[in-house]
């Protein structure tokens, strides 16, 4: 019995509050200058950070750039972060801002350099099937914000409030963007699917 209790206590699954406490300790260590602690934070959050960036920018390469920029911004701003706040939410807002900055820069560059061409919006390495190609095309018909909102919500599972915080828009706007994005995509894909 004692052995069972010992095993139970020593092998218990980490609870969310444990994870939060661990993350807080990592943040504090990183704020005190520990590179290893910051690396651990990068390891923990980079996949989710990539998903946020990828929802906002147009290509995988831009998402990579935005993730790197975002982590650099986060590193520089780490002293101003209050460790009692959720680190993820703070970090993803930074990621979203880095992505929005990159999108703006790309738009300016494209307007300057390629006025008559429309860039292919999505990396599409092995795309052979018609549905995916036309899905890509349908997504280009949405506004940048609608596309970001629908991906962040329907694929990544962020709430309207979280999306609003990341994109700097009210929660209600995120909700209505999602509604319009869904309606547009439904309409566009209805045509696609009837063709297939």
């Amino acid at each position: 019995m004692t052995a069972a209790i010992t095993i139970e206590t020593s092998f218990r699954m980490p609870s969310p509050s444990d994870a939060r406490a661990d993350e807080r300790a990592l943040v504090i260590a990183a704020q005190r200058g520990s590179s290893e602690a910051f690396a651990q934070l990068v390891r923990t959050h980079q996949r989710r950070a990539y998903a946020v960036c990828r929802a906002i920018v147009l290509t995988h390469e831009d998402a990579e750039d935005a993730v790197q920029e975002g982590f650099l911004h986060a590193f520089r701003a780490l002293d101003r972060f209050l460790p009692d706040q959720p680190f993820g939410a703070w970090l993803y807002r930074i990621m979203a801002n880095a992505s929005l900055d990159l999108v703006r820069r790309r738009k300016v560059r494209d307007a300057d350099e390629l006025p008559d061409t429309v860039p292919m919006p999505f990396r599409d390495p092995g795309e052979s099937d018609e549905l995916r190609r036309r899905l890509s095309h349908a997504l280009t018909k949405l506004t940048d914000r609608q596309r970001s909102v629908i991906v962040l919500h329907d694929l990544e599972g962020f709430t309207h409030g979280e999306i609003g915080g990341m994109l700097g828009i009210p929660e209600g706007t995120a909700r209505s963007d999602l509604h319009h994005a869904r309606a547009s995509l439904r309409k566009l894909l209805k045509d696609v699917r009837s063709d297939l």
């Binding site: 690396a39 990068v42 309207h160 995509l185």
Partner: protein, 120 residues
């Protein structure tokens, strides 16, 4: 998270298409490499501070040395000037006795009082 989804279950294919368009790379090697790139840029930022500091150290030390020499010279000159003024004031002291020069009126009063007392 909302439970209202874009597509019904019949549209799994479309959802899969969307997911594949936005899929993050799955290979661990990719993420290790990305982490290494991020940390390398972070190290550059840290190094940047030190490099910047290092760049300023030599001019700052030179400026501090110049200031120290200037302050030393100024203090020496001030001390020398004080000594010169003191010696000049010693050499050019008045011929009249100090007591007479300071309070002649007081001396007169005292004499007057003594004369007054002894004269009574």
């Amino acid at each position: 998270m909302s439970d209202i989804r874009l597509f019904s279950n019949d549209d799994d294919e479309v959802v899969r298409g969307l997911r594949s368009l936005y899929a993050a790379p799955s290979a661990d090697g990719y993420w290790n490499e990305l982490e290494a790139r991020i940390m390398s840029r972070v190290a550059d930022v840290e190094l940047g501070w030190w490099t910047e500091l290092d760049r300023w150290i030599r001019p700052a030390l030179a400026a501090a040395a110049v200031l120290l020499v200037a302050a030393g010279v100024a203090m020496f000159r001030a001390h020398q000037t004080e000594a010169e003024i003191a010696s000049e004031s010693m050499l050019s002291s008045p011929a009249v006795p100090v007591s007479t020069a300071i309070r002649p009126a007081l001396q007169d009063d005292r004499e007057a009082r003594i004369r007054f007392l002894f004269g009574r």
